[in-house]
C-alpha cells in the first residue's frame, strides 16, 4: 500500500519558471484554482496569459462576467487575457479550442500549460483538459510542462505551493466575481480547499494550492489521464462482460478472443473460464501484455458447462453479459449492435443473427470453409422457445440483473443449459430480435471438434430433463401455436425457395453476359499491352541509337577539331611552305581524283606503312583489304537496362572488361578462366589487347581463345608494335563506349565481381572509379595495406571473397586514388577527363594514380569496394623475378614515375597516410569478423 508521502506532497514547491498559459473553462476558474500562484508569479514578473474558454453565460450575463474576469485579473496584476467565447457547457462539441490553442502555444511558447484537473465535476472542466490533451498528443510540438489545477474539489496532486503571503490578494480577486461568489459560496469553498491543502505542510504554511504535474513521459503517453478517460466515457458506455468457456482448444480460443478485441465497442471485459482443460495461460498473457481487460480463471478440474458458466457470471463486473464459445467468433460490430439495440428498444435481453459455418480440417491445423448459411433468424416467441432452442447463446446480450434474477445456469444440466437459462429468462422478460448477422457459429468436420450428427443419448437425456423441468409450461395451446407457426413457416420457406430459384436463373444469365464482355475486354487489354510493349521496345531502341549516335558525333567532332588544328599546324610549318612548289609539281603530274592521283596516294601510303611497320604491316593491310574485314562493333547488343531493384545485386548495364596482355601466358590463362567462370561475356564485352608479346604462344592462345568463344563478345586487338601498358589501355578505351573495368592479366576474379563493382560505382553520385580489396593493391591491399598479403590458410579464394561480402559494411569509403590492377571506370569520367597519360608514364606504373587524382580534381570520387576481393599476383608481365636486369629496369621505372607523380601532386605521400588511417576502421572490423590473425 502507498504511504501518505506517495499520495500527497509533504513539502512546498517554489513557484515554477514561466511563461504560463492558463486555460480557465469559465471566467472565475483561474482565480478559484490558482489565484494565489498567479499573484506570486506576477510578483516575480513571470509572464502570465489567461485564456477564458467559455462565455460563462449559464452562470450569468456574459458581459458582466467578462468585466469581473478582467477586474479580478487586474487585482492579480495580469494583463494578458484572451477570450475564446465558446458556449457555456459546450466545450465538448466545439472545435475552436484546438484551432486557437496551436496559435497561442506557438506565439506564447509557455513553459507551463495550466489546465483544470481531470477529476473536476463540471463537464466543461473535464472537456477542456481532454480536448487539449488530445490536441497536444496529435500535434506533438509542445515541449513545455503540463500542470493540472484543482477548482471545486480536492483532486490528486503532486505539487503544493505556499500562498499564505498572498491569500488576501486571492480573496480580493475572487470577490471581484461578485455575480458568482454570493450565489455559490465560491470564496469559502476555494479558501477552505487552500486551508485543507496546508494539512501536510509546516505550521507556518497556512494556505496552499495543489497541482498535479504530468512528468515528461506522461506528457507523451498520459496513462493516468487515460484511466480517467475510461471513467469519463464510462458514463456513456456500459461495461459488457464477454464470458468464454474453454477446454483444450487453445488455437481456436485465440481466434475467439481476437474477435472480441477487434470489436468496435470499447468497454468490454473478457472472462475466460478454463473448465479443467490444458492451461492456456500463455495465450491469455499475450493479450494481457497488450493492455486488454482480460481475466483468466483456470478451474482445477472439469466441472461441466453450467458450473463453468456460473463461475464466469460470478466474476463478471459488466452491466451486460455476452457468451462466446471458444470455437466461435463475433464479427466486429456484434457488441455495438446489441448495446445499441438495448438502448433503442428498452428490452433487457436482445439477440442478433448468426451464420453457421461448416469447416473441414485439411492439413497441419489448416482449415477450409465448406459452406456458410444464415442460422435460424427468427423473431422471438416464448411458445416456440419452450419446444425449440432457436437462439444460439452466442447471439444474445443479457442485462446481468436478468440472469441474476433467473438464477444463472442450472448445474444439473451439462447440455441444453443455455436453452434452460433462456426459458427462465424469457419468463422474466421478452427478448428483442435484431435482424443482422453479427457472429459466426462454427461446425467442424473430420477432426470432429463439435459433433454434428443426429441426437446422441446425452442429448436425448438432456432434452427429456428439460421437458420434465418445464412441463407445466408446455400446455396444449403452446403445442398448437408452435405447429401453427411451423406450418406458416414451411409455406413461407417454399415461397422464398421458389423466388430464390428465379433470382438464381436471372443472375446466371447476367453472369454469362458479363463473362463474355470480360473475356472480350481481356483480349483487348492483352492486345493493347503487347502493342505497348512493342512501342516501348521501339522507343528504347530509338533512344539507344540516338544516344550512341550522339556519342559518335561528339567523338567525331572532337577528332575533327584535333585534325583541323593539326592541319593548321602543318600548313603553318616551314616544311609545308618550303615543299609547296614540289606539291604543286606533284599535283600537276598526278592531279587528285584521277587514276594517276589515286595511284600516287596508294604508293605514298604503302611507303609510310613500310617505314612504320615493315613489310609485315603492308602484307597485313593488304590481307584485311582483300578479305574486306571490319573491326567488330564493341557496343553490346543487349544494352537495355535491367531493373536494379528486382535483380538485387544484378548488373544494371553492360561493361567492357579491358585486359592489356604482355607475355605471362600461364597467368593470363588462369585469369581468363576465372573471368569465364564468374562473368557473363554474352552481356558484357571482353577486350584483350596484346601489346606485341615477345612470347609467340600468347598470340596463338589469344586467337584460339577468340575462336573458342566466337559466340561471345570477345575482341582481341594485336598491337603492331609494343606501345606500353598505358597506351594499350587507351587504345581499348577508345574502342569502348561503355563503363569499363581495366584488369591486369595476372589477376583472378571472384563471384559477382562485376555486379558488386558496378553497384559500388552507382551507390552515390559522381563516383568515377571503384577499386576492390586485393592481396596486393597498394592502399587497397587487405588485410595489411601497402604489403603483399597471402590468402589465409583456412580459405579458398572463392570462400574468402564470399566471406568478405557477407561481413562487409558496404561503406564504399572514399580513397585518394585506386589501383589499376582492377578498376571500374565510368564512361562519363573518361568523357570528362580523357584517357591515361601514356606520354608521361610510358610503359606503366603511376598512370592509374594520376588518372584517379585527375578525376578527383575534376570533382569525381574514387572509392574502395569493401565487399569485393580480387586476387592479384603482381609483376607477372615484367617477369622481373626471373631476370635481375629486368628487375633493375622495373625498379628504375617505378622510381622515375614516382618522382613524376610527386612533382605533379606534392601531397601524394600525405594522401597515402590519410587513406591508410581512414581505412583502418573498416580494415580492423573486417579482420575481426573474418577472424584473421594479423
Amino acid at each position: 500500500m502507498n504511504i501518505e508521502a506517495d499520495l500527497v506532497p509533504y513539502q512546498v514547491t517554489h513557484v515554477p519558471k514561466g511563461p504560463y498559459l492558463i486555460l480557465a473553462p469559465h471566467p472565475d476558474d483561474e482565480v478559484l484554482g490558482m489565484g494565489g500562484t498567479i499573484a506570486l508569479a506576477r510578483k516575480q514578473n513571470i509572464n502570465v496569459h489567461v485564456v477564458c474558454v467559455t462565455n460563462g453565460a449559464k452562470g450569468g450575463d456574459f458581459e458582466v462576467r467578462r468585466k469581473e474576469f478582467l477586474k479580478s485579473l487586474e487585482i492579480l496584476n495580469v494583463k494578458n487575457t484572451h477570450f475564446l467565447n465558446l458556449e457555456d457547457r459546450d466545450v465538448v462539441s466545439s472545435t475552436l479550442l484546438e484551432e486557437k490553442l496551436e496559435h497561442l502555444i506557438g506565439s506564447i511558447k509557455p513553459a507551463i500549460l495550466f489546465l483544470p484537473s481531470i477529476q473536476e465535476f463540471h463537464p466543461d472542466h473535464r472537456a477542456t483538459t481532454l480536448k487539449v490533451w488530445r490536441f497536444l498528443r496529435k500535434w506533438g510540438n509542445f515541449d513545455g510542462k503540463i500542470w493540472l489545477y484543482e477548482i471545486t474539489r480536492q483532486s490528486e496532486i503532486n505539487k503544493l505551493i505556499d500562498i499564505t503571503s498572498v491569500i488576501e490578494n486571492k480573496r480580493k480577486a475572487i470577490a471581484a466575481h461578485s455575480s458568482q461568489v454570493f450565489k455559490y459560496s465560491l470564496l469559502d469553498v476555494a479558501i477552505a480547499i487552500n486551508k485543507a491543502r496546508s494539512y501536510t505542510l509546516e505550521r507556518n504554511v497556512e494556505y496552499a494550492e495543489g497541482f498535479y504535474e504530468l512528468d515528461r513521459d506522461e506528457c507523451l503517453i498520459y496513462p493516468r489521464l487515460l484511466s480517467y478517460i475510461d471513467d469519463f466515457f464510462a458514463t456513456k458506455q456500459p461495461l459488457v462482460s464477454v464470458i468464454i468457456r474453454t477446454k483444450d482448444r487453445a488455437v481456436l480460443l485465440k481466434e475467439a478472443i481476437e474477435s472480441i478485441i477487434a470489436q468496435t465497442y470499447s468497454r468490454i471485459e473478457i472472462i475466460v473460464v478454463n473448465d479443467g482443460g490444458e492451461d492456456v495461460k500463455d495465450v491469455i498473457e499475450v493479450f494481457e501484455a497488450s493492455g486488454k481487460d482480460i481475466k483468466y480463471i483456470h478451474l482445477p478440474k472439469n466441472v461441466g458447462r453450467s458450473r463453468a458458466g456460473n463461475v464466469g457470471l460470478e466474476n463478471a463486473r459488466g452491466e451486460y453479459v455476452c457468451f462466446l464459445d471458444d470455437d466461435d467468433v463475433f464479427y466486429v460490430n456484434h457488441v455495438e449492435t446489441l448495446v445499441e439495440a438495448v438502448k433503442n428498444s428498452g428490452f433487457h435481453v436482445v439477440y442478433s443473427d448468426t451464420e453457421r459455418a461448416k469447416y473441414v480440417f485439411v492439413k497441419d491445423e489448416k482449415r477450409q470453409l465448406l459452406e456458410k448459411e444464415l442460422y435460424f433468424s427468427q423473431d422471438f416467441s416464448f411458445h416456440q422457445l419452450l419446444l425449440e432452442n432457436f437462439i444460439p447463446l452466442n447471439c444474445l446480450l443479457f442485462k446481468k440483473t436478468v440472469i441474476d434474477r433467473a438464477g444463472g445456469f442450472d448445474d444439473s444440466f451439462d447440455l441444453y443449459e443455455d436453452w434452460d437459462l433462456l426459458i427462465r429468462c424469457a419468463r422474466i422478460c421478452n427478448f428483442y430480435h435484431v435482424k443482422k448477422v453479427t457472429s459466426e457459429y462454427r461446425i467442424w468436420h473430420k477432426s470432429q471438434i463439435t459433433q454434428s450428427q443426429g441426437a446422441s443419448f446425452q442429448e436425448l437425456k438432456a432434452y427429456s430433463h428439460l421437458l420434465e423441468k418445464h412441463k407445466e409450461l408446455i400446455t396444449p395451446e403452446v403445442i398448437f401455436s408452435y405447429f401453427q407457426l411451423s406450418g406458416s413457416r414451411k409455406g413461407e420457406i417454399l415461397r422464398l425457395k421458389n423466388e430464390k430459384e428465379r433470382q438464381l436463373e436471372t443472375f446466371k444469365k447476367e453472369l454469362g453476359q458479363k463473362d463474355s464482355i470480360i473475356s472480350d475486354l481481356n483480349v483487348n487489354i492483352s492486345l493493347l499491352k503487347s502493342r505497348q510493349l512493342e512501342l516501348e521496345h521501339i522507343i528504347q531502341e530509338r533512344d539507344r541509337t540516338i544516344s550512341s549516335l550522339n556519342g559518335e558525333i561528339q567523338q567525331l567532332l572532337h577528332d575533327k577539331t584535333i585534325l583541323i588544328s593539326q592541319l593548321n599546324e602543318i600548313k603553318e610549318s616551314l616544311g609545308w611552305r618550303y615543299l609547296r612548289s614540289i606539291r604543286n609539281l606533284f599535283n600537276r603530274i598526278a592531279p587528285p581524283n584521277t587514276r594517276r592521283g589515286r595511284f600516287l596516294f596508294l604508293a605514298r601510303r604503302t611507303v609510310n606503312v613500310y617505314l612504320d611497320e615493315g613489310i609485315r604491316g603492308v602484307k597485313t593491310r593488304i590481307r584485311y583489304r582483300l578479305k574486306n574485314k571490319k573491326i567488330p562493333n564493341l557496343q553490346a547488343e543487349n544494352t537495355a537496362e535491367r531493373d536494379w531493384a528486382e535483380c538485387g545485386f544484378a548488373q544494371k548495364k553492360p561493361i567492357d572488361i579491358i585486359i592489356p596482355v604482355y607475355n605471362a601466358l600461364s597467368e593470363l590463362k588462369e585469369c581468363l578462366k576465372s573471368i569465364e567462370h564468374y562473368s557473363d561475356i554474352h552481356y558484357n564485352n571482353l577486350i584483350l589487347v596484346d601489346d606485341k608479346s615477345p612470347n609467340k604462344d600468347v598470340r596463338k592462345f589469344l586467337n584460339a581463345f577468340k575462336n573458342k568463344n566466337s559466340d561471345k563478345n570477345v575482341i582481341v586487338i594485336f598491337n603492331e608494335k609494343n606501345l606500353g601498358f598505358s597506351a594499350s589501355l587507351n587504345k581499348a578505351l577508345k574502342y569502348s563506349r561503355n563503363d569499363c573495368i581495366i584488369l591486369n592479366s595476372d589477376t583472378l576474379v571472384t563471384p559477382k565481381w562485376i555486379e558488386k563493382l558496378q553497384r559500388a560505382a552507382y551507390s552515390r553520385p559522381l563516383v568515377g572509379t571503384v577499386t576492390p580489396f586485393s592481396n596486393h593493391a597498394f592502399i587497397c591491399s587487405f588485410p595489411r595495406p601497402l604489403e603483399y598479403n597471402f590468402l589465409p590458410n583456412e580459405f579458398t579464394l572463392e570462400g574468402f571473397s564470399k566471406a568478405l561480402e557477407e561481413v562487409s559494411l558496404f561503406y564504399y569509403p572514399e580513397i585518394p586514388f585506386g589501383s589499376g590492377f582492377c578498376m571500374y571506370i565510368k564512361r562519363k569520367l573518361i568523357e570528362n577527363i580523357g584517357y591515361f597519360d601514356s606520354e608521361l608514364f610510358g610503359r606503366g606504373y603511376g598512370e592509374d594514380t594520376d588518372f584517379c587524382l585527375r578525376a578527383a580534381k575534376a570533382g569525381y570520387k574514387n572509392i574502395l569496394d569493401d565487399a569485393t576481393y580480387i586476387y592479384h599476383k603482381g609483376g607477372a608481365s615484367f617477369e622481373s623475378s626471373k631476370d635481375p636486369e629486368k628487375l633493375r629496369k622495373k625498379n628504375e621505372m617505378i622510381r622515375e614515375n614516382l618522382e613524376k607523380l610527386e612533382a605533379r601532386y606534392p601531397e601524394y605521400h600525405n594522401m597515402i597516410k590519410k587513406a591508410i588511417s581512414d581505412l583502418s576502421f573498416v580494415r580492423d572490423y573486417l579482420v575481426k569478423r573474418l577472424e584473421i590473425e594479423k
Binding site: 511558447k109 506533438g140 507523451l220 497488450s290 552515390r764 559494411l809 558496404f810
Partner: protein
C-alpha cells in the same frame, strides 16, 4: 546584415526538417545582430514577417495568388516580391524552399540587385514530385518523357516531356544565376552537380544542419539479453514503414528482440505485433529520456528515398545509439563517414537487417564498438552555432 528568407510555408506552423532548420538558424543569427525577415505564402496571399526572435515578430500581408508546384513564372507574385525588396533594402535573399512559389522569384531578386542564395533541402529543383516515388524510388530519372508519364500518374495531368525539360533548363539557368547554392550534405552537392553539370562546382557550398549537442546526454547500455530496436522518425511509407513491418514479421520468433516505433504513426500496421511497442511522436528535447526509458540499443533509419540530411541520424549519434540505415543518400554518406553502424543494401533490406540484428545479439562487442564511434563522432557533428557561423561567413563573402 538584413536578410530575407523565402520559403514555402510558415515555419512556426508545422516544423518539419526545413522549418526546424530555419528556426534554428534564425535563433542563431538574431543574437549576432542580424535583421531577419521571412517571406512565405499563406492562404490567399503572402506574408512578410520581420522577426525579433523565432517566435516574436511583426507581419505584413500582401494579397496574391498561391501558385502550383510547377509554376515557373507569375507576374503577380513577382511584383509582390519586387515591391518588398524595393521597400526594405535587404542585403541578401536566401531561398530555403520554392514549393508554392514561382521559380522566377530568383530572377526577381537578382534583377533588384540583391545577392541571392538557394538552399537545397529537398529534390524540388529536380522534380515537382519531390518524394520521387513512382511507387518505387525513380533514382532521379533523367528522361523527361519518363518523368512526364510519372507526373501524370501523380495527378499533374498537363505535364509533358517538353515541360519537364523546360523546367530543368530554367532551373539550370537559375543555378548559374544565383551567387551561391547551399547543400546540407556532400551527397546533395554531388547529386545536383551530376544532374546539372560540374561547371557549377564553385557555387556549391556544403553547410551541414546543426543539432544542439548540449541537450543530449544519454548512454544506453546493451545488457546482452534483450536487444531493443527502434524505428526512429515519422512512420511513413517513404521512410521505410513497410520494411520495418516485414522485419517485425520475420523476427516474431526471436524472443530476446523488442521493437519500438518512436515517431508519429502515419501508416497503419496490418496487424498486432506482440514484439512491438508504439511510443509515438516525440519532441526533440524529450528524445533522450524516451530512448533511455526504453533502453533502445539500435536505431533503424529505413528511408527508401535518399535523405538530404537526416536529423534523426544526428539525434541517434548524439544519444550514442548505433544505427542501421538503408544505403542511400546522406544516410549512406554520414553512416560511412562517422562509422556509427551498419549500412543495409536497399535491394533486399529485410534479410540483411535480420542477419545484422542477430549478429549484434550474439556479439555484444560490436555494439560497443559502434557506440564508441558515436562518442568520438559527436564533436564532428555540426552544432547550431557552428552552422550559423558558416552561414554568416558565406553571407559576408557574398555581400562584400
Amino acid at each position: 546584415m538584413k536578410i530575407l528568407y523565402v520559403l514555402h510555408q510558415d515555419p512556426n506552423g508545422y516544423p518539419a526538417g526545413i522549418e526546424q532548420h530555419l528556426l534554428d538558424l534564425i535563433g542563431g543569427l538574431i543574437p549576432l545582430g542580424c535583421s531577419i525577415s521571412l517571406f512565405f505564402p499563406k492562404k490567399d496571399g503572402y506574408i512578410l514577417r520581420s522577426c525579433e526572435g523565432p517566435l516574436n515578430y511583426k507581419e505584413s500581408f500582401f494579397k496574391g495568388p498561391i501558385v502550383d508546384f510547377d509554376t515557373l513564372r507569375n507576374q503577380h507574385v513577382e511584383k509582390i516580391l519586387k515591391d518588398v525588396l524595393h521597400t526594405n533594402k535587404f542585403d541578401l535573399v536566401h531561398f530555403q524552399s520554392l514549393r508554392h512559389l514561382p521559380l522566377s522569384l530568383i530572377e526577381v531578386a537578382k534583377d533588384c540587385g540583391v545577392p541571392t542564395i538557394i538552399s537545397l533541402h529537398e529534390y524540388f529543383l529536380w522534380c515537382i514530385h519531390f518524394i520521387l516515388l513512382t511507387p518505387e524510388f525513380c533514382n532521379f530519372a533523367s528522361n523527361p518523357e519518363k518523368c512526364a508519364v510519372c507526373l501524370r500518374s501523380q495527378g499533374y495531368n498537363h505535364m509533358t516531356g517538353a515541360l519537364v525539360q523546360k523546367r530543368r533548363e530554367y532551373i539550370n539557368e537559375l543555378l548559374h544565376l544565383v551567387d551561391s547554392v547551399v547543400c546540407p550534405s556532400d551527397y546533395v552537392k554531388a547529386l545536383f552537380l551530376e544532374l546539372y553539370g560540374l561547371d557549377l562546382k564553385e557555387r556549391f557550398h556544403v553547410i551541414e544542419n546543426g543539432t544542439d549537442i548540449n541537450s543530449f546526454v544519454s548512454t544506453t547500455r546493451f545488457s546482452g539479453s534483450t536487444l531493443n530496436v527502434a524505428f526512429l522518425g515519422n512512420f511513413l511509407r517513404h521512410k521505410g514503414s513497410y520494411i520495418f513491418e516485414e522485419l517485425l514479421k520475420s523476427c516474431l520468433d526471436i524472443k530476446n528482440m523488442k521493437f519500438f516505433i518512436i515517431g508519429n504513426l502515419y501508416e497503419k500496421l496490418s496487424t498486432h505485433y506482440p514484439n512491438l511497442t508504439i511510443v509515438g511522436g516525440y519532441n526533440r528535447a524529450h528524445l533522450t529520456n524516451i530512448l533511455q526509458k526504453h533502453s533502445v540499443n539500435v536505431a533503424l533509419l529505413l528511408s527508401v528515398i535518399p535523405e538530404t540530411f537526416s536529423f534523426t541520424l544526428s539525434e541517434a549519434v548524439l544519444n550514442q545509439i548505433p544505427v542501421m540505415g538503408i544505403d542511400l543518400g546522406s544516410i549512406r554518406e554520414r553512416v560511412a563517414r562517422y562509422k556509427v553502424g551498419f549500412l543495409i543494401p536497399h535491394e533486399s533490406p529485410v534479410s540483411y537487417l535480420k542477419e545484422r540484428l542477430l549478429f549484434i545479439l550474439a556479439n555484444k562487442d560490436v555494439l560497443e564498438l559502434f557506440q564508441a564511434q558515436c562518442r568520438s563522432s559527436q564533436e564532428a557533428l555540426s552544432t547550431i552555432s557552428k552552422m550559423t557561423d558558416e552561414h554568416v561567413t558565406l553571407y559576408s563573402k557574398i555581400i562584400n
